[in-house]
Symmetry: C2
């Protein structure tokens, strides 16, 4: 019996086992695995042991591996044929403060019902990431129960420091590359488009972050004496930064858009169909109009197009009242969100050349780099992506979107750059899940249909 | 005998009396009249009494008038015909720290000789302003000795808070306007062009100082989520500030240059003859090239042309390392140095309109004003100016320059605006006088020929 043939029975098993699967999730949620606070180190270890034991019960060969911080759980189940996948998630959770804003204790999970009738699981970590991780594990469990084995070779890597920067994971992945390198990575730590529409995150923007320091005179000057003749670094800086965008919102760095591929027509049409409006996306933060490239949809501006942003400027007198100073120094922090095809090093050099070419006599510049990371993209013609989309569509009765995410998930970039794997990011979080906030929740539907979704995805990939 | 007829004898008397005039100056310099430090209040009072007593000995009707701070000495000698003048100076001095950098105690005045042979008077206040004030008083004393009276009606106003902001003087001038209003004001608190070239300061630039606060989103945003779509106030601010100057260094505010008169050709030629170079003026602060209006001489850029300066900018993340924030707010401080013909209120409104007209949707602005002051100018056709120039030329054997000063002297603006008087600013300070610093000095030549200069100016004005 192939995994596809077994799928109907696996899905029935998931339905029948829902109450017990919730009990298992609740046991996981009761562990206070707050990773940022050293006082909770023992709870983090307990969560790692919980995951390890659970995976062992499914036939994984597990180990709780030490790092410089909290341990990483690795589970290996090389059985079966088909592509080998690495599943990544994290067992650690955010701190719970402010505790008084919780309606019930954060580590006492419970099911409640929203006014609109949705049933929800409420607890710290209900969504991020314990609930999401368990959708995958429960799908594995159902396969094991129905077929006696997992549907394809799976390696699990569940870390305990995602909420405090994954500091030790990068080295861990590098040190264990041979063992962790599979054909494909799967991650369950992202969101749906809305409660009815599944979504696969197919790209993450990269980043170049630069600090620019300009110096003109060798001291601060009085504008009554030098005003009119002395070069002012704030004037130079304004001029340079003002030149970063043209009137159509395009970034003006030479070669900035080189190598960027247009989205396939059907994907672009899907995005257009979402009709993401400024009213939906910007109004909640007090804004009205998209400020990016004028010929791009809002969804493109935030997800699939590169940007240049001024993150900070300081120089001269910024206290109360007046001081007629012409400062010696001025500083800006400038960052670029990158998409596929852009080379971080080239963008950084283009930016530095852009600044240097605009420096007048009497203005010196120093740069500092605070990070360069390429974008991550799943090719739209990836067979795994096509299978995941079809599987999600079958479960949710609606086409699965493929959307880029505007920010970075550094470990996914490492999967590509260190391990050479693409990552399919599927998640069932919703915008109202209050992730990182009091009363974090996960819809029961996300948990239940999320589990069924992974069963379908695994069956499809095993083909 | 007219003052002009008496002048040769008056000048002889000044020469003959030099030693005694130095003794009087030294007595004045020994008084520790540091105005910023309340511990020296009694010394300030003592200095006021010293001046009052000395003026009384010359026939002035004197009074030491209380203010909210240190007293103002007023002396009135309405005798004689001719234009009525108000002489302004100050008896207070700067603090002396760091004391260990003085070669001798700062309140023990002495004569020393520089390596180039110049004899100098060294003490705190030797130049600023006790030495300069005494050049005027000694000229008056010589007239009194030779002719038995002062050469024209003179009112003296010697204050004690110049070094700490003249806070109480503005109200004092307003409250005593009828008494202080004369035909012309004379001030001895400025510099020569160089040790051989006398200078009359004929204009002081005015000021408009604005703070601009921009707000876009109602909170700081994450550039991974909103980058590309959310308006960034630092980008808006850079664009606006970059637009304040054109490529030729001219300020672009509509109407900014309206009403400005060109310097008379002969005055401009005098300035050109000075050949003030970037090497002279900018190299000492580490700069090479004048950054102002390209078609203007350096001396014009700093003295007689208006400017726009960015005095400060702050917004977003300015700490160590990286933060991918799109800030909600950005702030800049911008000031304009004004020259004759420009109206501060119009410039302020032009600036605000300039900013408002460049605001995109989703960007709000608030302004704060930290001062508006018009420029002060002595008309080049003023008969008093012509007389002072001729008198200085006669004394120094060289044409007296008329140059504008780049900064403001607020009380001189008040003389014009509150009392309706022009001010002739003549001073004998030199660039190496170390004013406000340890080992402050005044050239013996400045003191001696300065006194002779005032005798000549007073004689000329009495005609």
């Amino acid at each position: 019996m192939t995994p596809s043939q077994a799928l109907p029975a696996v899905l029935d098993r998931i339905d029948a086992d829902l109450d017990k699967s919730l009990e298992r999730l609740f046991a996981f949620l009761r562990i206070q695995s707050v990773s940022t606070d050293p006082a909770y180190a023992q709870h983090c270890r307990e969560a790692a042991e919980f995951v390890s034991k659970d995976l062992a019960s499914l036939g994984f060969e597990t180990s709780v591996r030490p790092t410089g911080g909290h341990p990483v759980v690795v589970g290996k189940a090389p059985n079966g044929s088909g592509p080998r996948v690495l599943f990544y998630g994290h067992y650690d959770v955010q701190p719970v403060d402010p505790l008084d804003l919780w309606d019930a204790p954060p580590f006492e999970p419970r099911i409640t019902t929203l006014p609109d009738g949705r049933k929800i699981i409420v607890a710290r970590g209900a969504c991020d990431d314990k609930g999401q991780v368990m959708t995958f594990i429960e799908a594995c469990r159902a396969f094991k129960a129905v077929t006696g084995k997992l549907p394809l070779p799976i390696t699990m890597m569940i870390e305990g420091e995602e909420e405090c920067g994954s500091n030790h994971l990068f080295g861990f992945v590098k040190d264990n590359a041979a063992e962790l390198r599979q054909d494909l990575a799967l991650v369950c730590d992202t969101s749906m488009w809305d409660p009815a529409t599944p979504l696969i995150t197919t790209s993450l923007r990269g980043l170049v972050y630069e600090e620019v320091r300009l110096t003109c005179a060798d001291r601060d000057l009085h504008s009554g004496i030098f005003g009119g003749a002395a070069q002012n670094p704030l004037r130079v800086l304004s001029k340079i930064l003002a030149g970063l965008h043209d009137d159509n919102g395009r970034v003006t760095l030479p070669g900035f858009y080189d190598g960027i591929r247009e989205l396939p027509a059907d994907i672009k049409q899907d995005l257009a169909g979402l009709n993401l409006t400024a009213e939906d996306f910007l109004a909640p933060v007090g804004l009205k109009a998209p400020a990016g490239e004028k010929d791009r949809m809002l969804i493109e501006q935030i997800a699939t197009r590169p940007t240049a942003e001024i993150n900070g400027i300081i120089g001269g007198y910024t206290g109360e009242g007046a001081k007629t100073v012409i400062p010696s120094h001025a500083m800006a922090k400038v960052s670029f969100r990158l998409v596929g095809g852009q080379h971080p090093d080239k963008i950084r050099e283009a930016f530095r050349a852009f600044v240097r070419s605009r420096l007048p006599v009497d203005c010196k510049v120093e740069f500092a780099s605070f990070g360069t990371a390429p974008a991550v993209e799943v090719p739209f013609d990836s067979p795994a992506l096509a299978k995941a989309r079809a599987a999600l569509a079958a479960e949710w009765g609606r086409k699965a979107l493929t959307v880029g995410e505007g920010g970075s998930i550094p470990i996914v970039a490492d999967f590509k750059n260190v391990l050479g794997m693409d990552t399919i990011m599927v998640g069932f979080a919703l915008d109202d899940d209050r992730v990182h906030s009091p009363n974090e929740k996960y819809d029961l539907t996300s948990f239940h249909k999320g589990t069924r979704s992974w069963a379908r995805i695994l069956a499809a990939m095993a083909e």
